[in-house]
């Protein structure tokens, strides 16, 4: 049981760590795809769930 719980905890830590890492190195599409001649609108929060 300890091994199983440790595996769950490790999976959660890696998943959250990845989310934080990717969130840190990636840009929002509204800024990544905007240029001086074209502006991409800010999509705001998750469109499925009211922010």
């Amino acid at each position: 049981m300890k091994v199983f719980l440790a595996a769950l905890a490790f999976a959660a830590v890696v998943a959250v760590g990845t989310a934080i890492f990717l969130g840190g190195i990636q840009q929002q599409s509204s800024s990544a795809f905007s240029t001086s001649g074209a502006r991409v609108g800010d999509p705001g929060n998750n469109l499925m769930v009211p922010g």
């Binding site: 091994v3 595996a7 490790f10 999976a11 998943a15 990845t18 989310a19 990544a32 240029t35």
Partner: protein, 336 residues
């Protein structure tokens, strides 16, 4: 001069208005949506496989220059029509086969009964990697099935708000649990590859049906028999394909064009259905299907009689190394 120009503009506007009011049919002719749609449909049908109508964009995302891609309709039809059939046949079919197998064959018992002696089957680290990969796989499978079939099966039951919230969290879980899954996949490959190389012994095992079709026949096997090796390679090859295709879905700008991205989504979805079906069989035989099998990943230790029946050569190797109880295991005495 400016005054006469503005007067001319007003006159033209008035004439145009008069024309529209006096001849409504003529005015609407150029805006007939049905007529335009027919022409557009003919245009789309005229496009051949792989053709696209593209434009020119100035933003860095070049994929947005694809305005119309008729192959996308085939992709959509596949998602709506073919994929549910593949998923239904693979997953529901596998559940049906397992249910029939359980009814016909029954639970595979330890023929010698529990001996009371155990042998270490999997070390803690091996079980840790197994449960890490397995727990991620279960959540990835459920959240993935929700992406494919949730609108059809779950939305009508729970309503749009609950379904929307659940799907939102499911998508996050699917995206980020993919990483510990990939980690577990690599670790499993490294720790178990040495025991999963196919050999001549496996042919013998397969010819005898693994000894699971009839009582009393147990073909000799080392640490992993041919069935377990099959599961290992399904996990490794299926996992690699899922990871590779999933990587393209996580980072959709990598493929470079929409068609390639759609091909990867099809690969991801089809492999997922087959992968889930195969894992259902694995879960079955490792739990309700075979007595004593779950202990291997539960506590790590299996009964000696179970090990002798299913992995006789491996037990001999362990006994020779002094890492397993020796001698004949006594037959278990059933409780009164």
């Amino acid at each position: 001069m400016p005054g006469s120009l503005s007067t001319l503009k007003v006159l033209c506007a008035a004439l145009a208005l008069l024309f529209v009011v006096a001849h409504p049919a003529a005015a609407q002719l150029s805006f007939k949506p049905t007529a335009e749609a027919v022409q557009e449909d003919k245009l789309l049908n005229a496009l051949k496989e792989g053709d696209k109508i593209t434009g020119r964009v100035s933003i860095p995302d070049k994929m947005s220059s694809s305005l119309i891609q008729p192959a996308g309709r085939d992709w959509r039809d596949f998602q709506r029509s073919t994929l549910p059939i593949i998923g239904g046949v693979a997953i529901i079919g596998m559940l049906a086969v397992l249910a029939i197998f359980l009814m016909v064959r029954g639970r595979i018992r330890i023929e010698g009964g529990f001996s009371g002696k155990t042998i270490l089957r999997f070390a803690s680290f091996e079980r840790f990697i197994h449960w890490l990969t397995a727990s991620c796989f279960i959540i990835l499978a459920l959240s993935g099935l929700n992406i494919s079939f949730g609108r059809m099966l779950i939305l009508p039951l729970f309503g749009p708000e609950a379904f929307s919230t659940m799907s939102g969290y499911g998508k996050w879980a699917h995206n980020y649990l993919a990483f510990p899954f990939m980690f577990g996949l690599v670790a499993m490959f490294l720790i178990w590859i040495k025991d999963n190389i196919p050999g001549k012994l496996d042919l013998q095992w397969i010819k005898q049906g693994g000894g699971i079709l009839a009582n009393g026949k147990h073909p000799p096997a080392k640490r992993f028999n041919a069935g377990q090796k099959g599961i290992f390679w399904i996990v490794i090859i299926g996992g690699v394909l899922m990871s590779l295709s999933g990587w393209y879905l996580l980072f959709p700008y990598i493929p470079g064009d929409v068609t390639t991205l759609q091909i990867w989504t099809v690969i991801h979805a089809v492999i997922a259905m087959l992968f889930i079906a195969a894992m259902l069989a694995h879960i079955y035989i490792g739990s309700v299907g075979m007595e004593g099998a779950f202990d291997a990943m539960g506590t790590g230790e299996v009964d000696l009689n179970w090990a002798k029946e299913h992995h006789a050569l491996w037990v001999e190797e362990e006994q020779a190394k002094g890492q397993a109880p020796s001698g004949t295991a006594p037959r278990g005495v059933p409780a009164e």
